[in-house]
Symmetry: D2
Subunit: 411 residues, 4 copies
Amino acid sequence: MTDKAYTVFEERQKERGIDLQEVRRRLKALEIETPSWGYADQGTRFRTFPYKGAARTTLEKIDDAAAVHRFTGACPAVAIHIPWDKVDDYGTLTGYAEERGIRIGAINPNLFQEPEYMLGSVTNTDAAIRRKATEHLLECVDIARAVDSKVLSLWFSDGTNYPGQAPIRQRVNWMRECLQTTYGAMAPDMRMLIEYKFYEPAFYHTDLADWGMAFNMANKLGPQAQVLVDTGHHPQGTNIEHLVAYLLNERKLGGFHFNSRKYGDDDLIAGAINPYELFLIFYQIVDAMRDPDPAIAATANRIAYMIDQSHNIEEKIPAMIRSVLNVQVQYAKALLINFDEVREAQEKQDVLAAEDAVRSAFEQDVTPLLRAFREEDGLPVDPMRAYKESGLHEKVLGRVSKQETTPSGLK
Amino acid sequence: MTDKAYTVFEERQKERGIDLQEVRRRLKALEIETPSWGYADQGTRFRTFPYKGAARTTLEKIDDAAAVHRFTGACPAVAIHIPWDKVDDYGTLTGYAEERGIRIGAINPNLFQEPEYMLGSVTNTDAAIRRKATEHLLECVDIARAVDSKVLSLWFSDGTNYPGQAPIRQRVNWMRECLQTTYGAMAPDMRMLIEYKFYEPAFYHTDLADWGMAFNMANKLGPQAQVLVDTGHHPQGTNIEHLVAYLLNERKLGGFHFNSRKYGDDDLIAGAINPYELFLIFYQIVDAMRDPDPAIAATANRIAYMIDQSHNIEEKIPAMIRSVLNVQVQYAKALLINFDEVREAQEKQDVLAAEDAVRSAFEQDVTPLLRAFREEDGLPVDPMRAYKESGLHEKVLGRVSKQETTPSGLK
Amino acid sequence: MTDKAYTVFEERQKERGIDLQEVRRRLKALEIETPSWGYADQGTRFRTFPYKGAARTTLEKIDDAAAVHRFTGACPAVAIHIPWDKVDDYGTLTGYAEERGIRIGAINPNLFQEPEYMLGSVTNTDAAIRRKATEHLLECVDIARAVDSKVLSLWFSDGTNYPGQAPIRQRVNWMRECLQTTYGAMAPDMRMLIEYKFYEPAFYHTDLADWGMAFNMANKLGPQAQVLVDTGHHPQGTNIEHLVAYLLNERKLGGFHFNSRKYGDDDLIAGAINPYELFLIFYQIVDAMRDPDPAIAATANRIAYMIDQSHNIEEKIPAMIRSVLNVQVQYAKALLINFDEVREAQEKQDVLAAEDAVRSAFEQDVTPLLRAFREEDGLPVDPMRAYKESGLHEKVLGRVSKQETTPSGLK
Amino acid sequence: MTDKAYTVFEERQKERGIDLQEVRRRLKALEIETPSWGYADQGTRFRTFPYKGAARTTLEKIDDAAAVHRFTGACPAVAIHIPWDKVDDYGTLTGYAEERGIRIGAINPNLFQEPEYMLGSVTNTDAAIRRKATEHLLECVDIARAVDSKVLSLWFSDGTNYPGQAPIRQRVNWMRECLQTTYGAMAPDMRMLIEYKFYEPAFYHTDLADWGMAFNMANKLGPQAQVLVDTGHHPQGTNIEHLVAYLLNERKLGGFHFNSRKYGDDDLIAGAINPYELFLIFYQIVDAMRDPDPAIAATANRIAYMIDQSHNIEEKIPAMIRSVLNVQVQYAKALLINFDEVREAQEKQDVLAAEDAVRSAFEQDVTPLLRAFREEDGLPVDPMRAYKESGLHEKVLGRVSKQETTPSGLK
């Protein structure tokens, strides 16, 4: 049945003017990093429910990340969080990962948990705390070197809860100082990806609140600094694909944290709430990959794709597989856009034809394509079914939670 | 100086046509319940920072609530949360509170922390879990009787995170069954206040997502069921004072949870982000208090005002005092509206004059009024200063945290 | 090629457990009413751009609506707007429509254009204006009778721009009086559909601001009154499909105005911005159609589907065809949900499996199904191409705009 | 009574540590430009209601702007809109304004009304249209020279309604080319203020959608280009005062368009919906005025304040007076902040004290201050009452509308 379906699919794409060889080449190149913390228990301020089988240690997280790569073939790296994934010997850690077929990806410092950081880390009024924060950033640069990671991925929870609480302009300058120091310590082939967030946990102002602030900071730091777009970190209604296109035009788009949101920063499975938005993001990326300007194309080709979600009520490993599959599906659909058709309609300013040229690619069912591509690569054609049949689910259930997680907060 | 300021204030209000005796009478009648959980550590999913001096036990929470009442004179009741404030002997608990000059207020069941409730409590697909939830509600009705509380305050975290996850219509019916049973167990002088919430911790659909669903449920249950408005539980842009007026017109507004939000359900100090909104809410309430229809006026006069906030980075007791003062300020301002002037402008359909009649009351500085009213009542004229000078701050610092609160979640 | 594609499609659906006969039966029953005003020039407050070929008269609008039905086979009725479509002889009007193969659908009164209505129509402080508004409503009931329409579709722009501007509670009662009178005049087989809108043109409060207010009004009026959901009339983030399910459960969902929005009430082509949302709305409807409770199923089967959009920059007829096709596509996909699979996963509370059972239907490409269904019905298999090849585009260009539309407003 | 009230006010501010001389000096320096179009009829897409007495010609608009200045003393300039205010002889125009005591302020090109601009002006795919748009911009630079205006105020409606409609990245570059040409034509003492808007009339993407895009453009153009913040042009929840502080820190904040919004870009009277937000904006500005860095202080002192509203249902002149008064009130309150107290609390990281230091200034009633300041300047102490008693209202009613404005659009 697959074969017939693929044949029909192939004919249809041919009619649509799509070169499937190129599509498959690009699809194969797609790497999606999964986060170590996505395999552990996560929750809301009301409760972190303990989930049977959730990873308890860094090594277990690596086991799980490796499993996701095994089933999908698309996730050869795992992002780590310091200090959650701090170990004594990073050589052992990278070895452990390599043995399981993956590598260590982006290094994510944590500047939001120490009591000192309650009112700010790199923007704290207290210079000693800013120094401590900077040292943690420098430590993460060292760890990156130790695990041969090329990406330092920065998110700051820094901000305030009330008008007047802190000197907003001063804090911009403090942050810049700390990041300048960190930037200076990076190896020439490392990148610093700067994430922004509309709000939470700061509820009045967030020091890096939007792409413009992250972009301006990256500009001031230099070419190794770029912006990281987390799809859940925007005000309602924001046209994220517009920001993506804009940052690509400036050669400053460095990476993504994929997840879905309907309300705040919900951190749901990528593509689960508004799959068309994810498709349209990839439309802008693929469009940039084809740009005659090689610097723009190179920026698009070098984007670091990462999952960053909070699987509060789902089984962790299959939730991650689902996320990866959803990203693959939307990327595959974007590759099916006939860009000549789009350009022609745009040039004629034919609104309906241009819209149709983009949307009609989304309406394709890429299942036959993905199955064929996996088959060719020796991967399970249906990764989710393969997971279910693998016995891994039962195996991780054997992990006994060290202690029941305690309730975290209040209504 | 106060005297002169009050004289000037009094003259101004006389000019404006305001009867200050009536204003002071109503102001004196304002009671704002504080929540026991507002004195304990609270946080976000990223972190609950331990705060020196935060209450650790129910008795300490009652101590702190009593202190807030001592300084403000406006908070004679403390809401409790079951099981957080569960005790063996409720007689002892009420006695402890009474000795400190306060009483037990609304009873708040907790149906969001037990692992069973991860996918729903009164709307869970599993009938056994729904039964367990109903039993907890009935237990809370019993506790209400034991502590002589007249208000059962219900908030449900129930909802789903993904399309298709659960049968939405079925869940409406399940919830109704559970609440019907609970309603039937209430004493005739008890009220059930039904709270709604736009989202969180459910990120796709929340079973009681808006006032309309809570209102419809209250209608079906009967006259002892009313709606509770939490000021932070609405979509951006919602005209909350409109909902307040609407529910008063239907005699179904039962209570408030006051707090501020700029983004999601931020749970900041009431009146700290948009004080005019709080004023406009009270404008609608005072307007209803003056309604010729006695049923509407009675509904407005019977509203249960409660604070429900999350003091993540603030000292707990003064944060609560500030909240209470902010509510008092906006209520006092609403009492300074010249309703005849408003009505006259409305009848002439003079948009600018009507707007001015409302806004100009907000622009009054009510400090002299509040100081005079407190002086008359034998209260400290400046509650915040009185707190600072009382030595209480230093005293609660003696409380040693039993254990450092652990981090709650992830980015 | 179509045949092979359909065969593959059919096999796949068989594997998925879908009965295509039932799907095609339901698909054939789908009727989508188009609005007469959607064929005329429309714009924003900044400008209504004159579009070559836009309909200038009611008869031209009917011509265009008939053309859309001819190409799609799904639009046998055209909604009219009074007084825009007011004519001397409604018999002639219905005859004109019938000759072109369509009928007159919902009657839409207009209470927002007369200068008297600037500050309100059925909620105006001035009783004479409320009477005038009521008379217009009664006139529309008469017109409905004259054109044999069974649906009175009500939208009110009534509201205020400033706090204090008008007595909010009073206005609720005034509206109810007017609607009660109108309701009383309806024939027993007519329905009154009550639409709500979050904001615009009123910018502080809108008298019917949300589903809850429309629902409560419909409840008070009686069984012939139901709620109409316009997909663009909600706060950001609102879970519209949840409201749909809720209203179906109450047997009070009467109709839809379909359109898309990314920001405010953008009135873009239905399904153009977030197609998954439209699919999820139909998921809830199809689920209700299958409800064992016949009253719920009957409500779902009786929903009046209407397009209501503002084609500001698009050619009118193909924009309408596109809208109709998008609605068909999402309905067809919802019909491909395996509801047994969903139910089973829901019963097991298997979050990922339940989500997958719904989403995987959305991922089907329904092109072969729609082509086959059209072929069987003697319709063009590709309505958009048929339109382009029909010469109609060139023909309507012959319409010379009577006068250039003037700019409408300001920044 | 005023005297006594001022004495009490003075004493209170002295206690609070405020130097009223400095406050009055700064208050006197506040100039708020009013827009010529704010005196004419304005509306929504549903209807522009004709208002008796609205200005019909540019000269009448200047009459009305001069009247607002006469009553408030704060509005010595009127912004004009080209081509709405295009005249043959700009010398006559400036002379007419000067005779009435005002001058011509910012020049506002209009690139959203010509049919050519339906799909874009400076970002249109058609190079001829981009050239036409650029020529209009250059014409406006010439007009600025002719009327001795130093500010070119740019807002572009350019954007798209559908995904794929136009090449987003290309449009960024096209706009930059056009603005570069315009920038090059400006006199060295002119400024170009670049406005951004979240959405409307474009409903999918707006070429200059947020402060970051306007800021980046201004950076690329040079020091004479700055950002203009329209308070109604942001996503819900945006912390506008944060953006203000950020842009001041970058010396790139050039001007404001003041107005209020609750929902979209509602264009209501400034300060009417959330006065605290307006106060907090001024808090950041006054804070920057006091910055030790002279470049930051100079930027803050040079901000161009303008009203830009749509008085759809209000009488035009008093609506403008109200707007001006509201801006003055919030600025006056911001001047009453004790910045030493704020700084001290910020340095101690005392959250509650810092918040209180800011909020308590907002709670002052500045009526006595404004009355005294007006008295000293020979202005009416109550501008609104002076307007009402002036007979101007009756006089403008004599203006007979040339033609009734026609309805603008549709639901």
